[in-house]
Symmetry: C2
Subunit: 267 residues, 2 copies
């Protein structure tokens, strides 16, 4: 007789898998946890996969091969991402968000755990098979969404700074031209990155792609491949190869409703 | 006959509850999701609670009353938190982390999604019943762990800045004396906070509590109650009422192993 009922095994397996998205757990891990045979655990995983699909709660996949096992990938079902982002766009359109100078207030959205988790998962879903080793962001506002992207990909996050900090150790500094046409400095700790690895850039906003290009040239300094650049929001006319934004923003004028829409790639 | 098997309901319920820690879901929510009777769903919740307890995967609780329902609270079992933090302390003790000037490199730990999630959950567990409305941190290094604390408490995160930014809108600025004895500025957007609410301060490190005291006086400016202050690491001799740190640090000397230990309150 099995030590635990299928009910119990399925609930526990769900918690373990969903708590560490994209991480592959071996079947043996669950065999040990449940004191059950491989065939039983394998059947559990199949039932779980079907259940998650049915309720549209994400994907449970069995990966074959030497490094094989079971993994969970959040929210990849058609329609879900778009509905989620339409909700955020509705929030963005509130006239009270327009600040003097045509700026748009959305710091609250960028640091709401539920919202940044959802956005991070949408980014991650596009790069599951891109071999991303770490996520790179530039301080400050993009950190929450970059962290959640890193979590969904099960990789670490690295934060570039505006200036060299003593507690980051030896660092490489580069100058770059920001979207506002100002020369700025970017500093990245040598300890934080590894030559020959692959990075995904995640940031909150881009106007002309200046900061993202700065991050890209920083990555070249370290011989790091860039898998792509992801932004929560970009100006409609931004033209940055290999980049994607969740929301596209038209010119913001005082007192008018904000022209913001969900990007076409979001399904 | 029920539309879904208990297996399936339990797996789906686990995903929904653990994806939104500390959020209360009504039984009706699950009745609708599963097309099942309240008694069935209630029994499901009881089985799930027992399963999570058995596998030490967190707590599932039924909350009674008008705003009642079911909620999940992660990792509160005796021993787990201490084991987790001992692992991080071991990482911290690597001699290679000591930087010139006696600084300690731990930016990698502070932005590793798995590690900050665990640490955020340990903080959150101490304040589940403190009525926290939002988490406050000061840019930059504490943002990831503050975000994960906010996620575990199911509240938003607010980030104080070193200077007033145009895209944060109208802000209050205060001056404070940092741990290094330097006068610094802290800026908090008026839009980000609400009078009469309760905040929990979360930050990466404190030497003399200067920045935390700065955040506390900032909160007073807005008439906000401070439930406490949480730090990933503090100097052994830090004396800041209402504060707790996960790790305590002795004097760091070049070339010597780092004197770092898990704080006594971590169980």
């Amino acid at each position: 007789m099995d030590k635990f009922k299928r009910n119990e095994r399925l609930a526990a397996m769900t918690q373990v898998l969903t708590a560490a998205p994209n991480k592959i757990f071996t079947l043996s891990h669950f065999c040990e946890m449940f004191g059950a045979a491989k065939s039983t655990v394998s059947e559990d995983a199949a039932i779980l996969a079907e259940t998650m699909r049915q309720f549209r709660l994400g994907t449970v996949e069995t990966v074959t091969g030497a490094a094989g096992g079971v993994r969970y990938r959040p929210m990849t079902q058609e329609g879900e991402g778009r509905r989620f982002m339409e909700g955020i766009c509705d929030m963005m359109r509130a006239p009270s968000r327009v600040l003097p100078g045509g700026y748009l207030y959305f710091s609250d959205i960028l640091s709401d755990p539920t919202l940044v988790e959802g956005m991070g998962r949408l980014f991650a879903a596009e790069y599951y098979d891109a071999g991303v080793d770490f996520v790179l962001t530039m301080e400050t506002k993009g950190i929450p969404v970059a962290l959640m992207t890193a979590e969904a990909l099960h990789v670490p996050l690295t934060i570039a700074r505006h200036s060299n900090k003593v507690y980051e150790g030896s660092a490489v500094n580069i100058n770059y031209v920001s979207g506002k046409g100002v020369i700025e400095t970017m500093s990245l700790s040598r300890r934080a990155v590894r030559e020959g690895s692959t990075a995904l850039i995640v940031d909150d906003f881009t106007r002309g792609g200046g900061t993202a290009r700065g991050m890209q040239s920083m990555l070249s300094e370290f011989n790091i491949h860039c898998a792509g650049s992801c932004f929560v929001m970009a100006m409609e006319n931004t033209n940055l190869p290999g980049s994607r934004a969740l929301m596209l923003l038209g010119e913001v004028k005082d007192g008018e409703p904000t022209q913001v829409r969900v990007a076409d790639w979001v399904k």
